[in-house]
Amino acid sequence: MMTIKYIIKNLIRMITLLVAVTIFSFILVTSSPIDPVQSYVGAGVAVTPEQREEIAEHWGLNDKPIERFENWFENIIKGDMGTSLIYRKPVSEVIGEKFQSSMILMITSWIISGILGFVLGIIMGVFKGSFVDRIIKTICLVISSTPTFWIGMMFLMIFSVNLGWFPTGFSVPVGVSADSVTIGQKIYHAILPAITLSFSSFSNIALHTRIKITEIMESDYVLFAKARGEKLIDIIKRHVLRNALIPAVTLQFASISEIFGGSILAEQVFSYPGMGQAAVDAGLRGDIALLLGITIISSIFVFVGNIIANILYTVLNPKIREGGVYSE
């Protein structure tokens, strides 16, 4: 019962959030100095004022912003996100396509960063103050204060340009028709961007886990476990992992937003045709429908990530799960 109520509450929250996000981004986009007609026809092409007027009329650009928003919002509710000006395709189709290639990137890097972060965090926490801890901690601090795009560029220079191990960009090989691209080729193209992306969040997870582990290692129950003759490895298995996992999982799902944000930069550096690039293009070329569509989808994505984090927290933590107090 608790859970159903909780989910409904969060659904309402999500809807209000989405409405707020759409209104806000609509205001931002309409007040941007980019002229959608000009960016549509291209910079060098001359159009007569009459033609321009016609296009504007056709798109409804002459209506009041409020009317345009109402119009768009009505369609959104019906499930129609409009047509992308850049791709000349329905927005939902464009997003579906881009989302797929972004997802490969994001999921791989999300998993890599989660596991790597947790393992490094445990090593640092258990051996706090040791040489290993200091080295890993320094690396994590340096990485977490380094911008993703810079790491991406460094990787490109080292691994693609100098060593030639990985392609310099795109999600598929150049000059190969879409049908004949193999999964292997797709993965090969996604490796470097995925690693770059995971660099943006693993150090945070590692540093957070480290603090949590330190807390656990200094707790009374670990002290007692030591006094009972449990070996370090048993203590880690029996107590440390268990107690560190809940905050780590929560953090991992909350980090979806970071990965999402990072993917825009990583995709930009690697010319990887995903959501991030589509968002940048849509913004620069005044493709309002596509930009708003991406905004909505990404808000849902991040929000769902956070909700999963919250729900998992309640499911995993017995204090919340079995709230009742038992008495003799």
């Binding site: 006094a227 029996r238 107590h239």
Partner: protein, 312 residues
């Protein structure tokens, strides 16, 4: 009674090495010249006020002090030195610590599971037997620590000592937070341990309870033991107690006049030579500032650290 004591501690000192303001290092001696003997079949109550370093004594024996602690002096178990390596082998098996509160239980582990030291059948059976002995129902095996009352948690912690066959049990503050009835019930368990042939060291600040259940009482003050005496001497009267602090403690009990002595227990930051009770003692002399002799009585099982010895 000329057996080797189960635990014998001589001149134990524990010093913490810590950073003062800036990078200056500072040593704080929290336990000094402590002597203690725990014998088979006996309950030894270590009685002292808060902040006298009682818990650290337990942690020192178990080898679980923080890394910045330096331990000197001798600790012997069954006549052999307790080295860092040896304690790792015997703690939890031959020497068991029973900590004081629910915070010593893993909050995310079912109590029954964590009482079992290993996940096997014999441990399970021992756990079940211990739970029955300490009136914890089968249902409570599957509960988490936060679902336990203070008394239940304490009994679960006591049942951890039943996983092995320890010869020494160190109980750290087993009674605070329990009502009179529960406290007596808990102490009864320790009495039972001793009656089953184990040596029990019970760290407490409840003298009344200690007098009732312990064989000997060791009076702990400012990080050291001032006197070890038979428990019945606390009932017999003041003249059977030798150290001025022990006498003061006796007189401070509600049934003996409720008289308080002025002053405070010295903090470990105040380093002083000589008797630790000097400032508050009404019989102090100039020579109390020097080395204080230890005088032994009762066939060597009791002692007092005072220039007056046990003759007064």
């Amino acid at each position: 009674m000329n057996n080797i004591p189960e635990i014998e501690i001589r001149n134990l000192s524990v010093t913490f090495n810590m950073y003062d303001r800036g990078l200056r290092q500072k040593n704080i001696k929290v336990i000094s010249n402590l002597c203690l003997k725990a014998e088979k079949g006996e309950v030894l109550a270590v009685v002292g006020s808060s902040g006298s370093g009682k818990s650290l004594l337990a942690h020192a024996i178990m080898g679980i002090l923080p890394k910045n602690a330096v331990v000197t002096g001798s600790m012997k178990y069954k006549g052999l030195d307790i080295t860092e390596k040896r304690i790792k082998d015997i703690r939890g098996k031959e020497i068991c610590l029973i900590p004081q509160s629910v915070s010593y239980l893993d909050p995310l582990m079912k109590v029954g599971n964590q009482v079992m030291i290993k996940n096997n059948k014999s441990c399970f059976e021992k756990m079940r037997k211990a739970f029955r002995r300490y009136d914890l129902c089968e249902n409570s095996e599957k509960l988490y620590p936060f679902q336990y009352s203070g008394g239940m948690a304490r009994r679960a912690l006591i049942s951890t000592a039943e996983q092995t066959e320890p010869s020494v049990i160190i109980a750290d503050e087993p009674t605070p937070g329990l009502d009179r009835k529960m406290a007596y019930r808990t102490l009864k368990y320790f009495r039972d341990f001793a009656d089953r042939g184990k040596a029990v060291i019970m760290i407490t600040h409840d003298i009344d309870i200690a007098v009732e259940y312990a064989d000997k009482i060791s009076v702990f003050y400012g990080g050291t033991t001032l006197e070890t005496t038979r428990a019945e001497n606390f009932i017999k009267g003041e003249k059977y107690l030798y150290h001025p602090y022990t006498k003061a403690l006796y007189n401070a009990l509600p049934q003996n006049g409720f008289k308080a002595v002025k002053g405070f227990q010295p903090s470990p930051y105040e380093v002083s030579e000589g008797c630790i009770y000097f400032d508050r003692c009404d019989k102090r002399q100039e020579k109390c500032r020097g080395n204080i002799p230890v005088s032994v009585f009762d066939n060597g099982s009791c002692f007092v650290r005072c220039i007056y010895g046990h003759s007064v």
